[in-house]
């Protein structure tokens, strides 16, 4: 029997104690929360809250980098204070410990770095973007922003599942608060409610998963859980092909955790909240709904990967759901006209990729894509935000054209181009490498129809390239044409705006180019998005820097070396199982793949995927260039668009009949949910309302009516006539006397 690297690492290295200064990482954002609260109390009407937030987040980022430099490669915990420490006996599983403690290993360090780094940059961006709200919602915005970062850090740093759950709910709350930031806009309020309610479904799954973990393994702390003999025993059993020996309860844990992940990370069928969440201010969309919060589900799976590996069904379901989501969201994204919404669907689609990546047992590919996507998608959103900010809320790609040629928009255009190249997976961009890793693994990993999923994901990659460059060609190239949005100053407005753009009538609208802070952030992110490609080359034998990082953490899948674990998903485990027992090192990954059955068109996927996916990506871009590109060099002389509103795709779409319209209407998924879930629920609630009103209220009201009825009955006796009273009094006395006489005699 082979000893898994996980087991060996846990036994030899153990879990150390991190220095106390690590606590500054989550608590600096908390400090920002407290300080912005003080700003709100003192009715501060300056930009102070923004600078407090930026300062604290930057501090947090610096400490994170220090932690990365000193602590990476080890697993350390540090406890701030005791939170839950209960025991009801001396036996195993008779105590519950969940401290406010933090678990620093390479996986959490990865997340901490891009969360704090991007949060700092986006806070700087938001300080300019939200300027029109200074004195109104500005403090509230940065309060929720800082609280979000704190919650997110609790989520990724927590050393137990309960703290993860706290952070999970915390980010959900902040997401709700920030989507509904423009609380006077009915759409924003509806979107916020939708996000919150849809997330409840996932959160219930997570809660059940956490409870089952405790019930089954008797602990909530990662350090104990991953080292527990029970879990190690299960892993060993699966490795030896005895997956049936793992009890059902242990397998269910992964399934429930998976539901939680699907909710937070907007996977089918729970993805519907994310596109609507774009009602929030754009920095929020960039940070929460593209780069960080929506990757919480992936973090959960990566963190709990050992638990997922012992479940026979969880990972295949994740693979299928991820792929379906990727395809579905891409088809919807192709037909949208609102550029922010296109980016939202693209986020859903890319998250699908990441889930598929994790499920294909390449946590490296999945997490690498999380990191690269965080940078380029934040960049794309911030560029869209800059456009929206400058063109009075205009987001319709049919009404914007040629921004590249306008003064002051060059940095936005270049940033957008870099983001689009990454998202489209053009060779030698970061997005290209991370996506390839997932795609190749789809063909390598044996499983239920995984190679079919691989082809679907390849097709999706082409579609992604198409809709990405559709936006770029339509909005940023071609003749300079634009229409102002219908809102005076960006849709991020409360309706009454005292800003300088009040005077523009439709005829002489002057878009205002982004200022220094927005440009600086966009430039920084562009550079980072480009440099992210370099991460791949840091240690190529381990699939890049992220692979190097993950190798030291529990997210490193003990089977990556030979993929044999996947054999458990295959009916005839023998053919693949044979590879399971010879302990390959990680360095000879490629050799292992070669020996392995997986192939694409008869070749080793890891070698040809670079070319195949590049072909799909470039084809998508070429179609976009032909359909949406302007005349001239930029679209390779195949484009023919001469005005903002018309393109060749209009003709193609007309020939496709109603399909583009269906896609534009999101395949009527919302309507379907409305019909199948919302309507019945509403009918039920009406019925219960009637029961409540008739039965419960009726009973209560009956008791209220009873005295009134009695009074009504006694009312005629109250005639107001003096003689009547006298007579009845005399009669009463007479009756009493009579009774007394009868009794005493």
């Amino acid at each position: 029997m082979m000893i898994s690297p996980l087991l060996a690492a846990a036994d030899t290295a153990g879990v150390g104690v991190a220095p106390a200064w690590v606590l500054a990482i989550p608590f600096l954002p908390m400090l920002a929360v407290v300080l912005t609260t003080l700003c709100a109390i003192s009715k501060n009407k300056t930009k102070l809250p923004a600078w407090i937030t930026v300062g604290c987040l930057a501090g947090s980022f610096v400490v994170t980098m220090l932690a990365f430099m000193t602590l990476s490669g080890e697993t350390n915990t540090v406890t701030a204070w005791r939170w839950f420490d209960l025991s009801w006996g001396d036996g195993v599983g008779q105590q519950m410990v969940a401290n406010l403690g933090f678990y620093i290993d390479n996986l959490s360090l990865l997340w901490m770095m891009f969360v704090t780094g991007l949060a700092t940059l986006i806070a700087i961006y938001a300080s300019e973007y939200m300027e029109h709200d200074v004195g109104k919602g500005y403090t509230r915005f940065f309060f929720a922003f800082a609280l979000f970062v704190f919650s997110m850090l609790c989520l990724v740093m927590g050393d137990n599942l309960l703290l993860l759950y706290l952070g999970w709910e915390g980010v959900g709350l902040c997401s709700y608060l920030l989507i509904g930031y423009f609380y006077k806009k009915p759409e924003a309020v509806a979107a916020a409610k939708k996000a919150f309610i849809v997330n409840r479904i996932g959160d219930l799954g997570l809660a059940i998963g956490v409870m089952l973990t405790f019930v089954h393994f008797g602990t909530l702390e990662y350090a104990e859980l991953f080292n527990s003999a029970q879990l190690q025993g299960y892993i060993a059993a699966v490795q030896e092909g005895r997956a049936g020996d793992v009890p059902l309860m242990a397998q269910l844990i992964a399934v429930f955790l998976m539901i939680g992940a699907f909710g937070k990370s907007a996977q089918f069928p729970l993805y519907v909240w994310l596109p609507d969440a774009m009602e929030g201010p754009t920095p929020v969309s960039a940070l929460i709904h593209a780069a960080t919060m929506v990757t919480a589900g992936l973090y959960l799976i990566a963190r709990m990967l050992p638990v997922f590996l012992v479940s026979e069904w969880a990972l295949p379901v994740v693979a299928w759901v991820g792929t379906i989501t990727a395809l579905l969201a891409a088809t919807i994204g192709m037909a949208q006209f609102d550029i922010k919404r296109i980016m939202a669907y693209s986020t859903v689609s890319q998250l699908g990729y990441m889930f598929a990546g994790l499920a294909f047992l390449t946590s490296t590919g999945g997490v690498f894509h999380v990191v690269t996507h965080a940078f380029f998608k934040a960049l794309l959103f911030l560029c869209c935000g800059a456009v929206m900010h400058g063109f009075a809320g205009q987001l319709d790609l049919r009404k914007l054209s040629g921004l590249w040629h306008m003064k002051g928009w060059r940095i936005v255009s270049v940033g957008m181009l870099i983001g689009c190249l990454n998202l489209a997976g053009v060779p030698f961009t970061a997005g290209y490498f991370s996506k390839d890793m997932i795609l190749a693994e789809a063909f390598v990993t044996p499983g239920y129809g995984y190679s079919l999923l691989g082809w679907v994901l390849l097709l999706t990659a082409g579609m992604t390239a198409y809709y990405t460059f559709r936006v770029f060609f339509r909005v940023f190239t071609g003749p300079v044409q634009f229409e102002a949005g219908d809102e005076h100053h960006g849709s991020d407005d409360h309706g009454q705006d005292g800003h300088a753009h009040e005077d523009h009538a439709q005829g002489h609208f002057h878009p205002h180019a982004p200022g220094i802070r927005i440009n600086a952030v966009l430039a920084t992110l562009s550079v980072l998005a480009v440099l992210a490609a370099g991460l791949y080359f840091v240690s190529p034998d381990k699939h890049g820097w992220v692979g190097d990082m993950l190798e030291e953490s529990t997210a490193h899948n003990v089977y990556t070396a030979d993929h044999s674990a996947a054999a458990m998903f295959v009916i005839d485990g023998d053919t693949h199982g044979a590879h399971g027992h010879d302990d390959h090192g990680h360095a000879d990954d490629h050799a292992a793949h070669g020996a392995h059955g997986g192939s694409i068109l008869g070749m080793d996927p890891h070698k040809v995927m670079y070319y195949v996916s590049a072909v799909f990506g470039l084809t998508g871009i070429l179609i976009a260039a032909w359909a949406h590109g302007p005349k001239g060099l930029v679209s390779g002389f195949i484009g023919g668009r001469v005005e903002a509103g018309k393109c060749r795709m209009d003709g193609v779409a007309a020939k496709l009949g109603p399909i583009p319209r269906w896609a534009e209407n999101k395949w009527y998924v919302d309507e379907f949910y409305h019909f199948i879930l919302v309507r019945p629920l509403r009918v039920c609630s009406h019925i219960f309302h009637m029961i409540d009103k008739l039965l419960v209220d009726g009973l209560v009201n009956l008791f209220g009516y009873l005295p009134r009825l009695l009074g009504r009955g006694a009312q005629p006796g109250q005639s107001g006539v003096l003689h009547g009273y006298a007579l009845s009094m005399a009669g009463g006395v007479g009756v009493i006397l009579f009774i007394v006489v009868m009794v005493t005699l």
């Binding site: 009312q715 005629p716 006796g717 109250q718 005639s719 107001g720 006539v721 003096l722 003689h723 006298a726 007579l727 005399a730």
Partner: protein
């Protein structure tokens, strides 16, 4: 028991009259007053009827007082008379006020307490 007490307590001069006679007069007066109060509408007459009932109870008190040779009852009647006198002044003043309100002495005109 009453008979024995009467034999023991009553002076000879009153031998023809027993306690029952007094109580009978008292009861008749009370009932007459009550009937008058209930049947008549004139406020002054009604007031006089209440006075009659008052005096009926006074007679009963004095009779018992004499019967038991206990003078508290008679002292009490003195008090009752005093109160009745004060009350008469008050009541007549009220009647005058009521008359001014409605230009009528009919008691049935007043029925503000009708529910």
């Amino acid at each position: 028991m009453i008979a024995t007490l009467a034999q023991a307590g009553f002076p000879e001069a009153m031998s023809g009259l027993t306690l029952y006679h007094y109580l009978f007069i008292s009861a008749v007066m009370f009932v007459l007053g009550l009937i008058g109060f209930v049947t008549r509408r004139n406020l002054i007459v009604m007031f006089l009827c209440t006075e009659m009932m008052f005096q009926a109870s006074g007679i009963a008190l004095v009779a018992f007082s004499r019967f038991y040779l206990e003078y508290t009852g008679q002292v009490f009647v003195i008090f009752v008379l005093t109160v009745a006198a004060a009350e008469a002044a008050m009541a007549l003043a009220l009647v005058v006020l009521l008359f001014r309100r409605n230009e009528s002495l009919d008691g049935s005109v007043w029925s503000l307490l009708k529910g």
